[in-house]
Assembly symmetry: C2
Homo-oligomer: 252 residues x 2
């Protein structure tokens, strides 16, 4: 017997128009009618748990996914069990874009904590965007943004010191949490030191030492995953130069 009072996940239908993330997410800038059309192809499934794969390298591309709560890392596994963390994703962010090229995922994605996502079947999205210029435009913008973000990361890995890398990392999360209505100075990082190091091209030990040093210098307070940024201006100075930003490596 089906109990009408039981709310099953399949029945939970949070529409884009009611979603607090709409201004950060794919529907950004769409008219209410367009949003409704987009909404009709979006699927909202059951949540993933810490460590679950959202998809694996080599999987066929079925859907793009938007994080609605929780967080995710994307990474390219290598034969020998190692991996390169490509990025960490927060609510409102679209993942799977690198799979469009070959209709096959080029990286894996794993939930860092309990995580809910909206799935957008790519075939439907493509079709819909064909008849909805505003959606097509938004797709171009999001794809382009991803490229721009990757470029910043290239600069980080190519030119910045360990100190600058961690400061950049922390400020990036600060801003992203702020945009989502959370504190810019007090937050929990869902990933391990190991994953931070991997992402930033540093050894775990270096990350750990830097956290300790930053704390000694009064830049932040850290206790395990809980981070409180105590001096945003000084962190910004480390990242963007001025008296503090002592960058390695030469000019061209």
């Amino acid at each position: 017997m089906t109990n009408r009072n039981v709310v099953s996940f399949e029945n939970i239908k949070v529409a884009c128009k009611n979603c607090s993330l709409a201004t950060l997410c794919l529907p950004m800038g769409l008219s209410p009618e367009d949003m409704e059309r987009l909404d009709s192809i979006v699927k909202r499934g059951r949540p993933f748990h810490r460590g679950d794969h959202l998809f694996r390298e080599g999987d066929n591309l079925h859907s793009l996914r938007v994080i609605t709560s929780g967080s995710v890392k994307t990474f390219t596994p290598s034969e020998d069990g190692g991996e390169q963390v490509l990025s960490f994703h927060l609510p409102g962010e679209l993942i799977g874009l690198d799979a469009i090229q070959n209709e096959c995922h080029a990286c894996s994605a794993k939930a860092l904590e309990t995580t809910a996502v909206c799935e957008i079947p790519f075939h439907n999205l493509e079709e819909l965007s064909s008849s909805m210029p505003s959606l097509q435009h938004q797709m171009y913008r999001l794809l382009s943004r991803e490229i721009g973000q990757d470029s910043e990361m290239l600069t980080l890995l190519g030119k910045k010191s360990a100190e600058e890398r961690l400061a950049t990392f922390l400020l990036s999360f600060s801003e992203r949490f702020k945009k989502r209505g959370f504190s810019a100075t007090d937050f929990f990082l869902s990933m391990s030191r190991h994953e931070i190091g991997n992402y930033l091209g540093l050894a775990v030990e270096t990350v750990s030492r830097l956290f300790t040093r930053f704390q000694e210098e009064g830049l932040l307070h850290v206790e395990r995953k809980h981070v409180q940024l105590l001096d945003l201006p000084r962190l910004a100075t480390i990242v963007y130069g001025n008296e503090n930003g002592r960058s390695r490596q030469g000019h061209l």
Copy 2:
């Protein structure tokens, strides 16, 4: 008096359908009719000379550009005169994709030698792709490909040793030249050692030393910009591991 026998650049109209790069370029996979429509919005201007900017960081996005001959580097200049080279582009490659997000170029592009390009006004392209699903699809694919390439570069900068970086660089050019009908083992690099180092996150001196060492080890012959790869298999071993690929830094 206008001499009808003088061919001016404005009159040179190499259509996509006659272009040898069509299979690598934006029109890839379009039907002849669709290609014709795309062709109608493409502009072919006069060539750029070595050192000329195709566009600068901060310029408004007018057009995407495809290299038709020559080569280009894209880079983000930093206040202090330094720069991060983001990538080197060969004929058939589309540049300017990172500008779609803000309709403003996020990097600069400079010709490394005499270089010709096709310009595709983005506004027209977007409009056209709205009524041409195959073109929209191709745009999604190209944007996605760029993201995938950036990810590979992140792995290179985050995990690979200097040796692996240069070997990867050389094999990448080898393959790209081959795709364009040139020799995979004998080619000229149009960029300086400085630019190679910048791109690979290495000092010029390291690049120079590696070229010397690779030559001593019989992997290649190099004289200034002229490179001859003598042992592709061994270069591949450096890049993709096996007995040779001694990579720094740990697994997760």
